[in-house]
C-alpha cells in the first residue's frame, strides 16, 4: 500500500489565495454592494424558474400523481382531497427566491458581519471552480453547519461573486419565526419538517420538489448533509434521506452529472458557544423565535474573530459512482414511480455522504484556540478551575502541538506575521468568556452564580464545571479530525500492548466501529485509515513501522501520550455507560429514562472522584453510545412506540467493555470484514 496520498493532499494546500471579503465592504458603500449588477451564468443557460412554476411542475409530476392516487385508495379520501393536502405541504415548503430580498439581505448582512467578525476569508480558487461547475451541471452546495450564521453566508458570497443564488434546505422551525421566516423564504430557503416519519405524501412532495430543483438546474441546491447544526462542533454522521433525493436524478439518467461542492465554514469563535453546552447538558434548546433572535442581539456587541468559508474542489457524482452503481437497475420500472433504493445504491449514497463530510473536515481551518482547548482538557478540571495552568508551559505546548497538527496535514489559521506569543495572547483575549489569565496562569472561567440564598449543591457545582468543560470540548472537537486516526492507533498500541501490525489493525477497526458515531470514518476505508495513521505517526517520530511490527519509538512518548489523552474522555465516557448498562437492575429501559439516569449515574461518579471527564454528561455522547451499543448488538430496540424501549444484553456489554479496556487480547477479536493487510 502506498502512502503517497498524503503528499498529494498536501499539494492542494499550496498557493491558495484567501481574500477577506469584509475588507472591500469596509472601504466601499454597502448600498453599492447591495445594488450591484448581478449577472450569473446558470447551468446551460437554464431560464430562471419562478416559485409558482416550480410548484406547478412538482404538483403535476407523474410521481405525485401516482402517490396521490395510491394514498387516495389507501385512505378512502378522494384524489382531489389528497391533492389539496399535497398543495398545502408544498406551500409550507416552498422557497420564493427573489433577487430583491437577496439585495436586502446583502445589505443587512454586510452591516452585521462587519460588526461581528474581524474578517471573513473566502478562497478565490474554490469560487472560480464553482463558477465553472455551475455552468456544466446541477450543483449541490454542501456546507458544514456549526452556527446560524452559516445560513446565509454562502448566498452572500455567491451574490458578491456573480454565481447563481442557491435554494437552501432549512428546518421548519425557522419558517415559524415571524418576518424572519418569510425573509428566509424569499432569500431562497425551503422548509422541511423535522420528524417526517412515515408520512408518505410528505416524502413524495419533498422528494419530488428536491429532484425537480436538481433536474431543472436553475439554481444550485444547498443543504446540510449533517442534518443539524452540530452542538459539539464536531462533524455529525451524515443523514442520507436528502442525499438520496439529490442523487437520484443522476442515477436515473435525468441529468448528465451532478456536482457536489463541499464547503467548510470555520469560526474562531461561535456565536452560540454558551448555548451549545447548555443544550448538551439538558437545558432544552430555545424554540427559534424572532424575539429570541432579538435577545440574541446582545451577541452583536461582541467580537467573534475570523470566519473561513472554504469552497472545496467540486466533485463529480458521475466519477464517484463509476463502478459502484449499475444504472441499468432503473431500466425496468418507470422512473416516476417511487422505488426503494437497492443495497448497492444505499451503500454508495452513504459512502458519498461520508466522503463529503470528510472533505468538509479536510477543508476546515483550525484556530490556535482549538489547539489550546485540546491541551486544557488534558489537565484535570480541578486544576483548571483552582490552580490554573502556567501560561509559559501552555504556550510552549501549544507551539509543539501546532507543529504536530501541521505535520498531520491540518489547515491552521495562524497569522504569520505576528509573533507566536501575541497570537496566543489575543486568542485568550478573544475567548475571555471561557478563560482568563491571572498572574502568569490560565484559569477556566465558570459561569456567574445566579444570586441565590441557599448555597449551591454539589450537583449544581458539577453542572457548572461541566458547562465550561463542554464548551472547551466543543472547541477541541474542531481539530479532532486531524488527530483521530493517529490517536486511534496510539490508543490501540497502548491498550493492547501488542506490536503486531495485524493485531493492532484489528483493534483499530474495533475502535473505529465503536466510535463511528463519534468521528467520521468513510465506510470500507479502514485499511487506508490504518495506513494513514501508521504513516503519520511514523513521520512525527511516534512509532517505528516494520513489515509486521509496529513499535513505540523511543522519542514517541510525548506524541503518544498526547494522542491517548485526547481520546481518553471518550473512552472513559463509554466505559461509564457500559457499567451503567451492566449494573442496570432491569434488562429493559426506555429512551426517556436513559439520559437522566445516565446523567445522575455519571454525576455520582464524578463527585466520588471515580470519573474524571465531564463529557459523559453530554447528551450527545450518551446518544452516540446508545447507537454504538445498538450497532454492536449489545442493545436491541423493542418497540417503536411513544416510548422507545431497549433490551440490554449484559454479556455483550461486558464483552465490549472488556475489549475496550484491553482485558481481551486482540488476537481473540474477530477480524474486521474489510481487513486487507
Amino acid at each position: 500500500m502506498t502512502n503517497t496520498y498524503r503528499e498529494s493532499d498536501r499539494l492542494c494546500l499550496e498557493n491558495e489565495e484567501f481574500v477577506d471579503i469584509l475588507e472591500e465592504r469596509r472601504h466601499s458603500s454597502d448600498l453599492g454592494h447591495a445594488f450591484r449588477t448581478f449577472s450569473p451564468h446558470p447551468y446551460k443557460g437554464a431560464p430562471p424558474c419562478s416559485a409558482g412554476e416550480l410548484s406547478k411542475t412538482v404538483l403535476d409530476s407523474q410521481h405525485l400523481r401516482y402517490v396521490t392516487k395510491e394514498i387516495a385508495t389507501e385512505t378512502g379520501a378522494s384524489v382531489d382531497e389528497v391533492k389539496d393536502d399535497a398543495r398545502v405541504i408544498l406551500e409550507e415548503m416552498s422557497q420564493n427566491l427573489q433577487l430583491g430580498f437577496i439585495r436586502l439581505m446583502g445589505y443587512t448582512l454586510t452591516k452585521v458581519f462587519k460588526r461581528l467578525f474581524t474578517s471573513i476569508y473566502v478562497n478565490m480558487e474554490g469560487l472560480s471552480m464553482l463558477q465553472q461547475a455551475v455552468q456544466d451541471s446541477p450543483v449541490i452546495l454542501m456546507p458544514n453547519h456549526r452556527s446560524y450564521v452559516d445560513f446565509l453566508i454562502i448566498s452572500y458570497v455567491l451574490f458578491t461573486y456573480d454565481i447563481p443564488i442557491p435554494v437552501i434546505a432549512a428546518g421548519i422551525p425557522l419558517a415559524g419565526m415571524k418576518i424572519v421566516g418569510e425573509i428566509l423564504r424569499r432569500s431562497g430557503a425551503f422548509f422541511i419538517r423535522r420528524a417526517i416519519g412515515s408520512d408518505k405524501l410528505y416524502w413524495a412532495v419533498l422528494s419530488e420538489y428536491v429532484r425537480t430543483i436538481v433536474r431543472m438546474g436553475f439554481a444550485p441546491l444547498e443543504f446540510y448533509v449533517e442534518g443539524l447544526r452540530s452542538r459539539t462542533l464536531k462533524s455529525l454522521t451524515p443523514k442520507l434521506g436528502m442525499m438520496h433525493m439529490v442523487l437520484e436524478p443522476y442515477f436515473k439518467g435525468e441529468v448528465y452529472d451532478i456536482t457536489l461542492v463541499p464547503i467548510s465554514i470555520s469560526y474562531d469563535r461561535v456565536l452560540e458557544e454558551s448555548l451549545l453546552a447548555h443544550e448538551l447538558l439538558g437545558v432544552p434548546k430555545p424554540k427559534e423565535s424572532t424575539t429570541g433572535l432579538l435577545k440574541a442581539s446582545r451577541v452583536l456587541q461582541e467580537n467573534y474573530g475570523s470566519m473561513h468559508v472554504n469552497f472545496g474542489r467540486p466533485v463529480s457524482v458521475r466519477q464517484l459512482c463509476q463502478g459502484k452503481i449499475n444504472r441499468c437497475q432503473y431500466n425496468l420500472i418507470p422512473r416516476d414511480l417511487p422505488q426503494g433504493p437497492s443495497a448497492e445504491v444505499q451503500a454508495c449514497v452513504s459512502w458519498i455522504a461520508h466522503l463529503v463530510v470528510r472533505l468538509q473536515e479536510q477543508g476546515s481551518f483550525i484556530s490556535p484556540w482549538s489547539l489550546m482547548a485540546c491541551l486544557f482538557l488534558q489537565a484535570p478540571a480541578s486544576a483548571l478551575t483552582e490552580q490554573g495552568l502556567p501560561w509559559q508551559q501552555l504556550t510552549e505546548k501549544t507551539l509543539w502541538l501546532k507543529k504536530l497538527a501541521l505535520s498531520f496535514g491540518a489547515r491552521l489559521h495562524w497569522p504569520g506575521q505576528t509573533p507566536d506569543a501575541d497570537v496566543l495572547s489575543s486568542t485568550i483575549a478573544l475567548h475571555r468568556s471561557v478563560i482568563y489569565r491571572k498572574s502568569g496562569r490560565v484559569f477556566l472561567l465558570l459561569e456567574d452564580e445566579p444570586a441565590r440564598k441557599r448555597p449551591i449543591s454539589a450537583v449544581d457545582g458539577v453542572n457548572r464545571t461541566a458547562a465550561a468543560v463542554l464548551m472547551l470540548a466543543s472547541y477541541r472537537n474542531q481539530s479532532l479530525h486531524v488527530f483521530i486516526r493517529p490517536a486511534l492507533l496510539a490508543t490501540a498500541v497502548r491498550i493492547t500492548k501488542s506490536t503486531r501490525r495485524d493485531e493492532l489493525f484489528v483493534f483499530f477497526c474495533f475502535l473505529q466501529d465503536i466510535f463511528s458515531n463519534e468521528f467520521i470514518f468513510i465506510p470500507g476505508k479502514s485499511s487506508q485509515d490504518f495506513e494513514e495513521a501508521c504513516f503519520l505517526l511514523k513521520e512525527c517520530g511516534g512509532i517505528c513501522v516494520g513489515q509486521e511490527e509496529v513499535t513505540e519509538a523511543e522519542a514517541g512518548l510525548e506524541v503518544l501520550s498526547f494522542l491517548c489523552a485526547l481520546l481518553q474522555p471518550f473512552i472513559d465516557s463509554y466505559q461509564v455507560i457500559f457499567s451503567f448498562l451492566y449494573e442496570l437492575e432491569a434488562h429493559v429501559f426506555s429512551e426517556k429514562e436513559f439520559v437522566p439516569a445516565v446523567r445522575s449515574f455519571a454525576t455520582k461518579l464524578i463527585l466520588s472522584g471515580d470519573l474524571h471527564t465531564y463529557e459523559a454528561l453530554s447528551s450527545d455522547t450518551q446518544k452516540n453510545i446508545l447507537s454504538a451499543v445498538r450497532r454492536l448488538g449489545a442493545v436491541t430496540k423493542l418497540r417503536v412506540s411513544e416510548q422507545n424501549e431497549y433490551k440490554v444484553n449484559k454479556g455483550a456489554v461486558r464483552q465490549i467493555e472488556n475489549i475496550l479496556s484491553g482485558k481481551i487480547p486482540p488476537q481473540m477479536l474477530q477480524t474486521a470484514p474489510d481487513a486487507r493487510l
Binding site: G253, E254, Y256
Partner: protein, 609 residues
C-alpha cells in the same frame, strides 16, 4: 455524416442562425435562394436511387462497380475540385455532377478540417499482400464437381472480409488486410446452398454468408483464430422474384436480392414492400432477415419481422421452414424468431415470402420546424398516438401517412421533422393538414415540401460523406438504439455529452460532431440515431480513440435504458454486452439452439454469442 452539427457553441449558434435564415427564406420562396450548408445541397438534389442503373444484378466481381474501401459505387463520391468546391461525381444520382460551394465551409467549420491536410487512401493491395488461401483440397474438388462457381482471387476475397464499420474501412484505406475468406462461392439457388452446406459439413469447412456487405457490427470479419478454410457464401446471384401472389398480396423472393432491385421489380408489377432501410441500394433481403432490419417507412409497412410470412433457411442439420403460410400461428415459440437476428450463425437464408402492397397512388413530402428538440419529440409522440386512433379502421390499405425523419440539432435549438405522406390524394391532403395542426400545437411551423424531400433523400448519400471526411482527417460513424418515450430526451442529452467529454479526455484536439435524431417511432418508444465524428489530426491511433468513445457511448446508452441495438445487430462489435442484455438464461437458450443446429460450428463467424 449528418447535416447538422454541434461543434463549439459559437459555431453552433452561427450554424443555427444560418439554418433559421435558410428556413425563413425557404418559407417565403420555396424554390429560390442558395443553400448555405453543403449537406443541404445533397438533399436538394436527392433523387430516387440508381434509377439509371441498367445492370439488373449485382455482378460477381463487385469491385468493378463498387468501392473496395468505401461506400457505394466506384463512380460516385464527394470530392473537392481544384477550386476547392465540393462536387458529387458520376451520373447515378440526381446530385451527381453538382457543385456545392457551401459544403467546404460547413466541413471546415464543423470539424476544423482543412483542404490542405489530406489523408488519401492507399491503392488496392496486390495479391501478394493478402494471405494465401488456406484450402481444403477435398472440399474444393467436391465443389468443382457441383459446377457452382467459386473464386480464390485475392480481390474477391478481400472485398468480402469486411463490412462498413469505421475500423474496417480505415484499415482498408491504409492498405491493411487481416484474415480474409479463403474462397468465395456463388450459389444461384436454394439447391446450390444445400449442396454447399452439405459439403462444408462433410469436410469441416467454415461458411460465412455474405449478402450486401453493409454490416456495421463487425459481423463479416473473419475470426482471426479460425484455422479451417473460410468460404464466403455470396448470395448475390440468388436474386429472382419466384412468384407474386396477388390474391394474398405476397411475393416469394430469393434472399440474395438487394433492396433497390426488389423494389424496382415489384414496382414493375405495381407493388412495393415498403421496406426501405438506409442501405437499401446494397443490402439484401437475407441480410435484413438475419439482422432484424428496420426501414424508414416501418410505421406504415412494418419492420422485417412484420413483413415476412415464410422463411427458408439451410442449416447444417437440414432445411428449416414452416409448412404453411398462415398469417399467424400458435405453434409454440415462432421458429422465425430463431432465424431473424441469427446473424449468419445458424445457416443461410435462401428464400423468403413477404407481404407486398399496391404502390401508393400519391406521395407528398413535408417538413416541420420546431423551436427545440423537446417540443419536436413531444409532437412526434402526439402525432403517433392521435393518428393511430384516427385511422384505426384502415388497416388493409397501405397507410397513408408517415413520418420518416426527425433531425435534432441540439436540445436547446430548433430542429426539423421531415414527413412523407403516402396513399390516395384526398386522404394524403387531409392527413397532412391534421399533422400540421398538431405540430402547430407544439410550436412547429410547416417548412415546405422540398425541405422534407431533401431530408428524406439525404439518407442515401449520407454514407458517401464519411468517405469524403476520411480524405481529410475526419472519421465518424452513426450508431443507434431504441428507448422508451420518457427517456428519449435524457438519453440524447447524456450520450451526446458523454461523447464530447470522452473525446476531450482522450486528447481529441477539435470539438467533435455529436448529434442525434429520432428515426423511428413506436407506441412505447422510439429509435434514436447518434452521429459522431471528429477531426483526428494529432492523434497517433485515431481508430482506437474512436472505438473507446463509441464503447463509452454504448455504456451510456445502456445505463440510460436504451437497447444494445434497434436494427444494426450485435455482430462481434457488441457481443460483450449480450449477456447483460438478454440475461444468462437467455444466452443459454440461444447457445443451445446454436449447439443443436450447428454442432460443428460450420457457420463460424462467431457473431452474437
Amino acid at each position: 455524416m449528418a447535416s447538422n452539427s454541434s461543434g463549439g457553441s459559437s459555431d453552433r449558434q452561427r450554424i443555427a442562425q444560418q439554418r433559421l435564415s435558410i428556413i425563413a427564406g425557404h418559407l417565403q420562396r420555396p424554390e429560390d435562394g442558395e443553400w448555405a450548408i453543403g449537406a443541404e445541397e445533397c438533399k436538394a438534389q436527392g433523387s430516387k436511387p440508381n434509377v439509371s442503373s441498367k445492370g439488373r444484378t449485382v455482378p460477381r466481381r463487385r469491385q468493378e462497380i463498387m468501392k473496395w474501401n468505401g461506400w457505394g459505387y466506384v463512380d460516385s463520391k464527394f470530392q473537392f475540385n481544384k477550386k476547392g468546391q465540393a462536387e458529387f461525381t458520376g451520373k447515378r444520382y440526381r446530385l451527381s455532377g453538382m457543385v456545392m460551394p457551401a459544403l467546404k465551409e460547413w466541413f471546415e467549420s464543423t470539424f476544423g478540417a482543412s483542404l490542405q491536410h489530406k489523408t488519401p487512401a492507399s491503392a488496392i493491395p496486390n495479391s501478394s499482400a493478402v494471405q494465401p488461401p488456406i484450402l481444403n483440397e477435398a472440399f474444393v474438388e467436391d465443389l468443382k464437381s457441383t459446377g457452382i462457381p467459386f473464386s480464390q482471387d485475392a480481390e474477391d476475397r478481400v472485398f468480402r472480409a469486411h463490412g462498413h464499420c469505421l475500423h474496417e474501412i480505415f484499415a482498408l484505406r491504409e492498405g491493411k488486410v487481416g484474415r480474409v475468406p479463403d474462397m468465395v462461392v456463388w450459389p444461384s439457388n436454394h439447391n446450390d446452398v444445400v449442396k454447399i452446406v452439405e459439403l462444408a459439413c462433410k469436410h469441416n469447412v467454415c461458411l460465412i454468408p455474405y449478402g450486401g456487405g453493409t454490416s456495421v457490427s463487425s459481423a463479416l470479419e473473419c475470426p482471426p483464430e479460425e484455422t479451417r478454410t473460410i468460404v464466403s457464401v455470396d448470395t448475390s446471384q440468388m436474386n429472382r422474384i419466384l412468384w407474386i401472389d396477388e390474391k394474398n398480396l405476397t411475393a416469394h423472393v430469393e434472399a440474395g436480392i438487394v433492396g433497390q432491385e426488389l423494389e424496382r421489380l415489384l414496382n414493375e408489377s405495381g407493388y412495393c414492400t415498403g421496406h426501405e432501410p438506409d442501405s437499401m441500394e446494397f443490402s439484401s433481403l437475407g441480410g435484413w432477415v438475419a439482422t432484424r432490419a428496420s426501414g424508414m417507412k416501418k410505421n406504415i409497412y412494418g419492420n422485417i419481422e412484420d413483413l415476412v410470412v415464410h422463411i427458408r433457411m439451410v442449416t447444417p442439420q437440414g432445411v428449416i421452414e414452416k409448412s404453411c403460410q398462415g398469417p399467424r400461428m400458435s405453434t409454440g415459440p415462432d421458429i422465425h424468431h430463431f432465424i431473424l437476428g441469427s446473424e449468419g450463425t445458424l445457416g443461410v437464408v435462401t428464400e423468403v415470402t413477404m407481404k407486398i402492397r399496391p404502390m401508393p397512388e400519391y406521395q407528398k413530402y413535408g417538413s416541420v420546424v420546431f423551436p427545440n428538440f423537446e417540443q419536436g419529440v413531444a409532437c412526434l409522440r402526439e402525432v403517433l398516438t392521435l393518428i393511430t386512433n384516427v385511422f384505426a379502421g384502415h388497416a388493409l390499405k397501405p397507410q397513408k401517412f408517415y413520418i420518416t425523419k426527425f433531425k435534432g440539432f441540439d436540445p436547446n435549438r430548433l430542429c426539423v421533422a421531415t414527413l412523407l405522406f403516402e396513399g390516395d390524394r384526398e386522404r394524403v391532403l387531409q392527413h397532412e393538414k391534421q399533422v400540421y395542426d398538431i405540430a402547430a400545437k407544439f410550436g412547429g411551423l410547416a417548412a415546405g415540401e422540398d425541405n422534407g424531400q431533401r431530408g428524406y433523400m439525404l439518407t442515401f448519400v449520407i454514407a458517401y460523406l464519411r468517405d469524403l471526411g476520411m480524405d481529410y482527417y475526419v472519421i465518424g460513424e452513426s450508431f443507434e438504439t431504441s428507448v422508451p418515450w420518457d427517456r428519449v430526451l435524457d438519453i440524447c442529452r447524456n450520450v451526446k455529452e458523454r461523447i464530447i467529454r470522452e473525446c476531450k479526455e482522450r486528447g481529441v484536439q477539435f470539438p467533435p460532431l455529436s448529434t442525434c435524431r429520432v428515426t423511428q417511432t413506436y407506441d412505447a418508444g422510439a429509435c434514436v440515431y447518434f452521429y459522431f465524428a471528429f477531426n483526428y489530426r494529432g492523434l497517433s491511433d485515431p481508430v482506437h480513440v474512436y472505438e473507446q468513445v463509441e464503447h463509452a457511448a454504448r455504456d451510456e446508452i445502456l445505463a440510460n435504458g436504451g437497447s444494445l441495438s434497434h436494427h444494426h445487430g450485435v455482430g462481434k462489435l457488441r457481443k460483450e454486452w449480450m449477456r447483460e442484455t438478454v440475461s444468462r438464461v437467455g444466452m443459454g437458450m440461444l447457445k443451445s439452439v446454436k449447439d443443436y443446429v450447428d454442432p460443428g460450428n460450420i457457420f463460424g463467424n462467431r457473431n452474437l454469442l
